[in-house]
């Protein structure tokens, strides 16, 4: 057997962790019958990979190797527990205990992953717990990383995850994909979780960086996984289309000084044409459903931007029409805000400003910096610089992301110079 250098082994294990964690865990949960036990078995498998791969070489299929190792470990633990006659709360699924385990065929593992997704996103769990479990169990993020992503202390996140796992075990939340009659309701929650994972990475709620690229990529991977598992679902196609069409602009969102570049000023030659083409093709599929789902409508809006060669060609009337449809499907204050911005570009800044002012009373937008930023933008375009300055100042107080704060300061600075070119960019890059 060929030996492998320790640096190679470490890299291979790290790579397998990133790519295969969810596969291995999903395939182990059924054997272990308990999420905690499965996690422990999977961790043991990764630890033994470090030692074994160094001696025997890196296997051709690291994921399959890890799955076999984790399942053996889980079975050992299971037997051990059985001899101790410990009463373990069990996950209830179609096959609770498989002495031999099913074959490692891709289909079986795909089913396991889908079961794990639906278990993590069960509506009997609080939404934050659904997101935390998804990141922990399906993305393999550490509890500390999940806590950092959602700006809560690690102890708080650890308690939240423990509580959710306890509820899964104590209430017997089943480890299975819901029946077709319930799938439609349940998939919406799953898609919301995946979308939140993506948006949290797309624009980090706080911190020095505009993006959390790791989270954005996890969100994209999860959406791709769902697409592979549920290829006929138009809402899944819509979510993947939305993420691809938004993510296509990633490289153009920062300049060489790591400052935020707003949509209007982005170098469109840096947009990822392949991602856009893939997103547009998926969007066509997603728009087949009547009425179109909310992710499909948001993807359609992103596609209008992506397909405009230059900013001044943007078809704002089309975007406004899509927001009107989105308002019927998903009437939220954030959608109203984005619609008001589109209206300002389609029909006139003064009209847009009036719409924005009407939204000032929305309690959900009271701490949302994009409302003030959008007001500042329209005020600047209308030449009302003093009022624009006040609005940008308000946005600056509310914004926590340092890259966005720098961008707001720059727009205020341009106002002071009196060039009138300043705050010409109020629109958010994507609705959320």
């Amino acid at each position: 057997m060929p030996q492998a250098a320790s640096s190679e082994v470490a890299a291979a294990v790290a790579d397998a962790h990133r790519r295969e964690w969810a596969f291995v865990l999903a395939a182990t949960v059924r054997v272990a019958g308990d999420i905690d036990a499965a996690e422990e078995a999977v961790q043991d498998a990764y630890a033994s990979a470090l030692a074994t791969w160094g001696e025997r070489g890196i296997p051709d299929k690291p994921g399959a190797w890890l799955t076999v190792a984790a399942r053996h470990r889980a079975l050992d633990m299971h037997r051990h527990a059985a001899t101790e006659q410990r009463a373990l709360p069990k996950l209830h699924g179609p096959e609770e205990y498989l002495p031999d385990g099913p074959g490692l065929d891709d289909e079986g593992i795909a089913d396991d992953r889908l079961r794990l997704i639906f278990t993590c996103c069960h509506p009997a769990l609080a939404f934050e717990a659904q997101v935390a479990l998804t990141l922990r169990l399906l993305c393999g993020l550490s509890t500390a990383d999940v806590a950092r992503a959602f700006l809560v202390p690690e102890a708080t996140m650890a308690a939240r995850i423990t509580r959710a796992k306890k509820k899964i075990a104590a209430a017997h939340i089943p480890y299975r994909v819901p029946p077709a009659s319930e799938l439609h309701d349940r998939i919406d929650g799953v898609l919301s979780v995946v979308y939140l994972v993506y948006t949290t990475g797309h624009t980090a709620p706080s911190g020095a960086q505009l993006m959390r690229t790791d989270l954005a990529e996890r969100g994209l991977e999860l959406a791709r996984t769902l697409r592979a598992l549920l290829p006929a679902d138009p809402d899944v196609a819509g979510l993947l289309a939305l993420i691809l069409l938004t993510d296509a602009r990633r490289d153009a969102r920062l300049n060489e000084f790591h400052e935020q570049v707003l949509l209007e000023d982005q170098d469109r030659s840096r947009w990822d044409r392949r991602a856009i083409a893939e997103g547009v093709a998926l969007l066509r599929e997603a728009l087949v459903s009547r009425p179109p789902g909310r992710f499909a409508l948001m993807a359609a809006i992103a596609a209008v931007h992506d397909e405009s060669g230059i900013w001044s060609d943007t078809d704002w009337r089309e975007i406004l029409g899509l927001y009107d449809l989105l308002m019927e499907r998903w009437p939220s204050p954030v959608v109203q805000l984005n619609r008001a911005i589109a209206l300002g570009f389609a029909l006139g800044y003064a009209e847009g400003l009036a719409e924005l002012d009407a939204l000032g009373a929305e309690p959900q937008l009271a701490r949302y910096p994009y409302l003030a930023a959008a007001r500042g933008d329209f005020l600047a375009r209308l030449g009302r610089e003093e009022e624009a300055r006040v609005a940008f100042q308000e946005a600056l107080i509310l914004a926590d992301n340092e890259a966005e704060r720098r961008s707001l300061r720059a727009r205020m600075g341009a106002l002071a110079g009196g060039s009138g070119q300043a705050g010409e960019r109020g629109q958010r890059e994507s609705p959320s």
């Binding site: 009463a87 009997a124 104590a170 209430a171 017997h172 939340i173 089943p174 819901p178």
Partner: protein, 111 residues
């Protein structure tokens, strides 16, 4: 199979109204349909008839008039059911013709 308690919540006004009445037709229908899963169940007298007992921390008890938690949504009755998992329990619970709604709690197994 696991056991779950379905706690039935009602508006206080509604409970008073239904006092002394026979089991309503929707409940009879539900109990017939889901009889195989029902282990036990009862309707409670109105919350105003409740008496609460709290430990006073020094070995004694204080006895007071009224339910444990004052709220407009009062516990009006319960069913103890048996189900394969939470999804089945929720399916059954959705059929309870309760005034406001129900809470489903897994029963802890004590060995």
């Amino acid at each position: 199979m696991s056991k779950y308690l379905i706690l039935i919540f009602q508006d206080e006004a509604a409970t008073k109204q239904s006092e002394g009445e026979a089991i309503s037709a929707p409940y009879q229908e539900f109990m017939q349909r889901r009889g195989a899963s029902l282990l036990n169940g009862a309707a409670l007298q109105s919350a105003s008839t409740a008496t609460s007992i709290r430990r006073d921390g020094s070995g004694g008890h204080s006895v007071t008039d009224g339910p444990f938690a004052e709220s407009k949504e009062v516990l009006g009755g319960y069913f103890l059911i048996e189900a394969a998992d939470l999804d089945e329990a929720l399916e059954i619970a959705k059929e309870v013709p309760a005034g406001i709604g129900v809470e489903v709690r897994p029963v802890r197994m004590v060995s």
